[in-house]
Symmetry: C3
Subunit: 109 residues, 3 copies
Amino acid sequence: MKLVVAVVQDKDSNFLQQALVDENYHATKLASTGGFLRSGNTTFIIGTEDHQVDALLELIKEHCHSRNQVISPISSLDANADGYMMHPVEVEVGGATVFVLDVDQFKHF
Amino acid sequence: MKLVVAVVQDKDSNFLQQALVDENYHATKLASTGGFLRSGNTTFIIGTEDHQVDALLELIKEHCHSRNQVISPISSLDANADGYMMHPVEVEVGGATVFVLDVDQFKHF
Amino acid sequence: MKLVVAVVQDKDSNFLQQALVDENYHATKLASTGGFLRSGNTTFIIGTEDHQVDALLELIKEHCHSRNQVISPISSLDANADGYMMHPVEVEVGGATVFVLDVDQFKHF
Ligand code: NI
Ligand code: NI
Ligand code: NI
């Protein structure tokens, strides 16, 4: 038995949550405050058999991977404004940090 | 030293919380959102000496075990309605999923 | 790789959070409800390399240690009241409980 702790960027957490439900994983979502060190994370804890760890990691990777996204800043300038150039900005979104922990004992009551 | 992670059904969490306080366990309750994968869980993390793990598991088992409960659906049909039978429904409530983790180092500052 | 779970008294959690950000630790703050067993804790989970564990524990100790604080009860008695002595009260504030866990696998997607 392993306990998988996955800190998932908010952008990806709903996709992962749905996938975990679909695949019948025993997952729990821990609440986050706005006060996250890296804003917008959700923490999942997922109990899983040793032989399912690789499949679970693959599932997380599939639904949560950091990638660059081009964001167009919303201009508040009207058509006649000059002197400002609004360039699209590339930012990194998504991704997950995952810790797999050994479980000494597992019980279900 | 062990770290016990207990995901407890909301129906049982208040009973367990009181029992943990009564027995002087060093327990912390992590907040949950409504967005739990299985709705209505509370996660406790509890630090405990190796020789107390069995007693703690027993305490959790005693206060959190899944059982069936018969629920009578509230009928919105008036006395004259026909064609619908409202049967009591049996649902599973309560219970806990518990992971016992080895602790490499424990510090209290 | 280690996963450090730190339950920190609220009085100290902002100081620790700032220090973790300043030192570039990969830390996540788990939300707490008012329903904590010991009121006013915040739980951090922090992934760290084995050789950085001592430095991290030192950082936590530096920013979170329990100490006594003298609190003067606010008297609602007016200057002419007699029969009541308002003594300053010494209470313990701050501190952290820290669990260092071995990590079987660590992934970043
Ligand atoms: Ni999907
Ligand atoms: Ni009881
Ligand atoms: Ni500082």
